[in-house]
Structure formats: C-alpha cells, structure tokens
C-alpha cells in the first residue's frame, strides 16, 4: 500500500533578505499511511506548520520530493487532477480566518457541494448541508445555516471547518493546531469528533501542535515526531516516547508540562536546560542545534549535526549521547 503522502529528504529554505537564508526544515522524511494518526510536536518556529503546508501541496520544498499516492507532485510533467488535489485537506488553527467572514455557513458549504456537483438543486443541497452539520454535532442544523462565522463560538466554527474538510472524502486531513484557539474544556469534544471521523471514514490525520497532552489524547497508538528548529529530534510511537523519552529536548518539554494535580504541579522543578534562549537565525549554533541549551552537551555535539539513529524499533533520536539519563516522570528534580 502506497503511503497517502510521503516526504523524502525535504528541505525548506526561505530567503529573508538579500543576504540571509533561513532553513526552516532540514532533511525531513515522513510517511503517512492510510488511516494513521501522526503528531508533529514542537514549539513555535520549529517548522511544524511548514511541514503541514508542504504536505498540503501548497508549498514547494526547496529540496526533496513530495509524493501523493506515489506520484511526485512537483514533477515538471505533473498536473493536478481533481481527485488528487482533493485527497489532502486542512483544518486551520484560526477558525475565524479559515471561514470566509462574509458568507453564511450554508453558503460556504453549499459552494463546494455545488461546484463539485455533489448535489443538484437547492433541496438536495440543503439537506446535504444539514447532514454535514449534524455529523459534527451542530444541531439543530437549521439554526446554523444562516449564521455568519462571527456569530458562532470558536468551537462551533472549528466544527464547521472540520465538516468542510470531509466533504471531498479526503484521505488525509492536516490539522494545524485545531484546538489551540478553542476553550480548554471544549477541546476534548473536538478531538473526539476527529477520532470518530478517523474510525468511521478511515481518514488519516496529521496533528500539528505544541501541546503534548492533546497529542497524547488524540494520537493514541499512532506516531509522534518531535521537532526542534527545523529538524526532527525524536520520533516513534507516541506511547513509547512519552513513557521513555530519550532526547533532552523532549525531557525539557515533558518537564515543562503541568498536570492538573496541584500537589504534583507545585513541586519545584528545574527544567533540564542550560539556557532559555531559542537560537535565532543570525546566530545558529554549530553542530546539533540544541547544544547551547542541552545540559549534557559534549564537544562532539558542536562539531557535527547528529543523524537520526534507531534506539529500538520505530523509536529514533538525533543525538550523540548514550549518557542522557532516563527521564523520571514524577521526580522533577
């Protein structure tokens, strides 16, 4: 079975101004198979959204290849046919910006249905739009048809974005921080909705986020890729990564996350980091980009960029050191 989307040795560079080039992504290899849920986790600026846009086919990488069902989409001979173009859809973080603010929910959804000739005539279209809204829990659907996006709550808008993404029966939905702008208590219901779509329709998801907790909830048995400043630092099954993180950066991320248990949350913690500053474009560290902040950094870390190497099975990290201690979940210092 061909992977739905595959990235091979993808590099992405942006020209900042005449002198400087910014490397947003470095040697990314990624395979998304049918029905899989994969998370890309990292802080802002790590390149995760850029990967999303490359997977979406709207951004051409400076180097490397992007394959849709085995077809190389940036090939000179390639031209988009409708089924291929619609195979990958997106749900953005900002639901306000991803819905046309001047069109009602009905108009936004019916435009697509009509143009793609999925329905014919007003009656048919109306009933299809209503069922689309019901699928995502927007009931009664009649209430939402004539509303404009600004009249809906963030969670409701996000549901509309999600149902819109399913209209063309995509194989993969790129969810870029889909719940970050939604109230914390409503996040689960949106994630549950996406889980249901994954189970019922076999839609694969690429979940891009900075929040490990929601990633853990959503991805379940799938894989996670941890990014730092454009490179993959650790990847593997999410359960394995959270139980047994090996890269110091992942240690730091896990330490920084709070729990909802006050006695645990209040325990004083030292983040295993030497410095708080992220690297900037103008002074990129040599060798491993994480070495200025890594408490275990050694000489070799400054010399050369570590390649991804396998620890066990699918669990890979990009680090030289064997002596990075195991991360203890409950002893934060």
């Amino acid at each position: 079975m061909m992977p739905v989307v595959e990235l091979r040795h993808v590099n992405m560079e942006f020209q900042l101004d005449r002198k400087r080039r910014f490397t947003a992504l470095r040697d990314i290899n990624l395979e998304i198979n049918e029905g899989e849920i994969t998370a890309i986790v990292g802080e802002s600026g790590c390149g995760k959204s850029t990967i999303g846009r490359i997977c979406l086919g709207v951004l051409k990488p400076t180097m490397g290849a992007v394959f849709y069902n085995g077809r190389y989409i940036w090939d000179s001979g390639f031209s988009w046919d409708k089924p291929t173009r619609c195979m990958v859809q997106v749900v953005h973080q900002d639901s306000y910006a991803s819905l046309n603010p001047l069109r009602t929910i009905y108009q936004t959804l019916s435009d697509i249905l009509r143009f793609h000739k999925i329905t014919r005539g007003d009656k048919d279209t109306r009933s299809k739009v209503k069922s689309l809204l019901e699928v995502v829990g927007l009931t009664p659907p009649e209430y939402f048809l004539d509303k404009y996006p600004f009249q809906l709550s963030g969670g409701q808008r996000q549901r509309v974005s999600i149902t819109r993404a399913t209209i063309l029966n995509p194989k993969l939905i790129i969810a870029d921080e889909p719940v970050s702008a939604v109230d914390a208590s409503l996040r689960l219901s949106i994630l549950d909705l996406m889980l249901r779509l994954n189970k019922e329709f076999g839609i694969a998801f690429l979940y891009i986020t900075h929040d490990l907790a929601t990633a853990r909830y959503f991805v379940r048995d799938g894989r996670m890729i941890v990014m730092y400043f454009g490179s993959v630092v650790e990847e593997g099954r999410i359960r394995e990564l959270i139980d047994n993180p090996r890269h110091p950066y992942l240690h730091a991320l896990l330490s920084a996350m709070s729990t909802s248990d006050p006695s645990k949350a209040k325990r004083k913690r030292e983040l295993p980091l030497k410095s708080l500053d992220m690297p900037t474009v103008d002074n990129l560290p040599s060798g491993c980009l994480f070495n200025p902040r890594c408490p275990y950094a050694d000489e070799i870390c400054e010399k050369e960029f570590p390649q991804l190497s396998t620890i066990e099975g699918e669990h890979r990290i990009s680090c030289y050191l064997d002596r990075v201690p195991r991360w203890e979940k409950h002893s934060r210092n």
């Binding site: 173009r85 991803s98 603010p101």
Partner: protein, 290 residues
C-alpha cells in the same frame, strides 16, 4: 433566508438594513431625490433659457426658488436639467472605472506570474502618462457628444489607481486561510475572485466609487473648459465655474444663492453617496451590522 440566486429576497433584506441605519437611509433618500430630479425633473420642469438681464442675480423668491443667474435665468431649472448629465457622467464613470479596475486588479492579484507582471506594466503606463494631454488627443480623434462616451474617457483614466490598490488587497487576501482552503478544494479562480475575495473588498470599492464620481464631475468641467467637449451650461460644475470665475457673482451680495446652489447641489449629492455607502458596507459585511 439567503439563497444566492434569489435576488428579490436579498434586495428586501438589503433595504431593511439600509432602513435601520439612519445615515444610510438619509443617503438613500438624497440619492433617490437626485435620481428623480435627473429622470423626471427635466420632463416636469421646463427650461427657460431666455436671458433677461434686468432680473440678473436675484435672490430666492416665489418665482425663482433658488434665484437667478448672471443672465436672469432660473437657477433651479438649470440645476434640474443639469442633473441628468451630471449624474450620468458621475455614475457611468465610476461604474466603468470600477468594473475595469476590479477585473484587472483581481485577476492580476489572483493569477500572479507573468500575467500579473503584464497587468502591472499596463497600469504603470496609465499612471505615469499625464491624463489631460491624452484626453485632448482622444477628444480630437473621437467625437465626444454624449455623457456615456464622456464617461468612458474619464473612466479610462481613473481605473488604474483602484486596480493597483485592489491587487494589493487581493495579494494579502490570497494568503488568508479561507482562500487557501478554497484552492485546496480545487475551487475555480472565478469562484475565489467573485465569491471569496470581492465581497471583502466592497467597502473599499464603495469609497473609491464615490471618489470617482466626484472626480468625474470636476474633470468634466475642466474638459469642457478646454473645449474638448460641447459646453453644457447646465452642468453643475460649469455653473459653479461661471458663478465663481466668469461672471463676478462673488462680488454681488444678492447672488449668494447663485454661488451656493450648484455648490450645495454637488456637496449634497456627494454626501448622500457617502452616507449611503456606509449602509452598503453593512450589506456586504454582516459584522458591521450593529
């Protein structure tokens, strides 16, 4: 209920919005007033252009509502008869200008690439070549007799600025998420242009529409004075010009209404347009409805 093809209901809803917005409603009334003046006015009110110098520079009276001009002719009659041309030129220019600007600006912004570059060069040419000399050339080649062709010529020189601004707006919109989603859903450019991009640009277009209308009135005076177009004495701009510069009305106290009438007519017309425009914005952008 909004069904895209059901224009009747949409008009009714639009009208309700205007009705609720006091400024816009006022604007609508003013515009209706002027349109009636332009259409029915000349039929209802006769134009008597016979000169009677004994009656010159009269102030408002029962016989002459707005007084008389330098030749003793009724000002109100002239305004009414002039309104037809003025409104036609103003609206037609603004309409043609906007239309071309929208087509060029939107397509250049959306399609990009070489097409965009070509359009930008054309716009640049229009913007740098001075209007008047070209218009003089135009006028000598093509006979400009009626307001419509006059409007076309004026429009030819007002569209480039707007086109460029629209293109800039489209470029910024292009990267907005909802446009990206439309692309990913393989929606055609025509849909993106008219259904996604254009409605957001309507407020901007409205303002420019008014500007063009206003500019057309002024430009028409200049062109007439240059003798490129047959002089129309009842054109408001022309009347204002006569009153201010040609006939010494500014020195005659009783001629105040001669001076003010065309001025106020122009101002009121524009103000009506502006007020109405605020309501139009609301029609296109539901977020502005209070």
């Amino acid at each position: 209920m909004i069904m895209p093809r059901n224009t009747g209901k949409r008009l009714l809803e639009s009208f309700t919005i205007i009705k609720h917005n006091r400024r816009a409603f006022f604007g609508l009334c003013v515009l209706v007033f002027f349109i009636l003046m332009a259409t029915a006015g000349p039929v209802v009110i006769p134009l008597d252009m016979s000169q009677d110098f004994l009656m010159r520079f009269q102030g408002p009276s029962w016989a002459h509502i707005l007084g008389t001009d330098f030749a003793g002719r009724d000002i109100f009659q002239q305004l009414v008869h002039g309104s037809t041309d003025v409104l036609t030129i103003a609206f037609a220019t603004a309409f043609f200008g906007s239309f071309i600007a929208v087509l060029v600006g939107l397509s250049a912004g959306l399609v990009g690439g070489k097409f965009d570059m070509l359009m930008m060069r054309i716009i640049d040419i229009f913007l740098t070549v001075p209007n008047f000399p070209i218009m003089i050339i135009f006028a000598s080649i093509f006979r400009i007799n009626d307001p419509i062709s006059f409007a076309l010529v004026l429009a030819a020189w007002s569209w480039p600025g707007l086109a460029r601004a629209l293109r800039a707006q489209v470029l910024s919109l292009k990267h907005k998420e909802f446009v990206e989603v439309s692309r990913v859903m393989a929606m055609p450019y025509r849909h993106i242009m008219f259904k996604e991009a254009l409605p957001g640009l309507m407020p901007y277009l409205m303002i420019n529409f008014i500007d063009m209308a206003r500019g057309a009135i002024t430009a028409s005076v200049g062109i007439m004075l240059l003798g490129l177009v047959p002089l129309s004495v009842t054109n408001w701009g022309m009347m204002l010009n006569f009153a201010t510069f040609q006939t010494g009305a500014i020195y005659v106290p009783s001629a105040l209404s001669y001076l003010l009438s065309p001025m106020l007519a122009i101002i009121l017309f524009q103000y009506g347009l502006i007020c109405f425009a605020s309501g139009v914005e609301e029609i296109f952008d539901p977020r502005l409805r209070s």
